[in-house]
Amino acid sequence: MLMRWNNHGFGGFAPGFWAVNDLQRDLGRLFQSFDDSRTFAAPGWQAAAGAEPKLKVSDTADELRVYAEVPGFRAEDIQVSFDDGVLEIRAQRSDAAPEGYVAQRRERGSSSFSRRLTLQVRVDGEKIEAELKNGILELRLPKQAEARPRSIAVKAT
């Protein structure tokens, strides 16, 4: 069985990637995924650049931790700054197609982003640490002493 979508000018050996049940069905596309892409097809799935990256913030009592999904960014592409309670993460990378290749489908996000988080907890800006691993940027923001939880002794009277 030979199935080709070569009626859109992609040439005689156009690869036959196509969707079985992709809601964004478009025969002009060469490459479609099998999955029922409701996630992708929903309005806004292709999140605006400003919404990137996905962040998760957690509080470990002694520090705040921020996890940002930054696939494809190298450490030198990312700048983290902290000023007056505002944490800012900026990053930029090339979004050019790999050399010698022609793009057939592009879903991956923008090549640059900037996000600012206004922290409600006082942290020690001098001791913020940032680490990049497997496309996840992890920030550790130690709280200032007075912002840490303390236990209060209960006195019997």
Binding site: P15, W18, G72, E107, N134
Partner: protein, 125 residues
């Protein structure tokens, strides 16, 4: 630019580490994929932030290519990136290779020799 404010106190109930790691069923996520092509191959580029190379699973079953990779969060929850594609007959099933770097999975699908464009010499007689 997005200016987002977060209230870490409010997030504590949901994501505090104080409760210890929770082992949850994987949450399946469709990774975003770019597809590139040159004369020799198709190149899939998938965003799988946090995924480790040990967790990557690439499977070709008949003409169905399935990519999967897991990201285990610090709280123990698992994000499973998974997506399947129909592979054309022009792909050499024995020559699929992949690399994972910086949370990006690249899968090289080489074309069969007979599928590559070729130049036919014209001889004068």
């Amino acid at each position: 630019m997005t200016v987002a404010s977060t209230n870490p106190i409010a997030s504590e109930n949901k994501s505090t580490l104080a409760h210890g790691p929770a082992v949850n069923a994987p949450r399946t996520v469709l990774p975003r994929v770019d597809v590139y092509e040159n004369t020799d191959e198709l190149l899939l580029v998938a965003d799988v932030p946090g995924a480790t190379s040990e967790s990557v699973n690439i499977r070709l079953d008949e003409a169905r290519l399935t990519l999967s990779a897991d990201y285990t969060r610090v709280d123990g929850s698992i994000v499973r990136y998974q997506r399947a594609f129909q592979v054309p007959e022009t792909i050499d099933a024995d020559q699929i290779t992949a690399q994972l770097k910086d949370g990006v999975l690249q899968v090289h699908l080489r074309k069969l020799e007979k599928a590559k464009p070729r130049t036919i010499a014209v001889t004068a007689n």
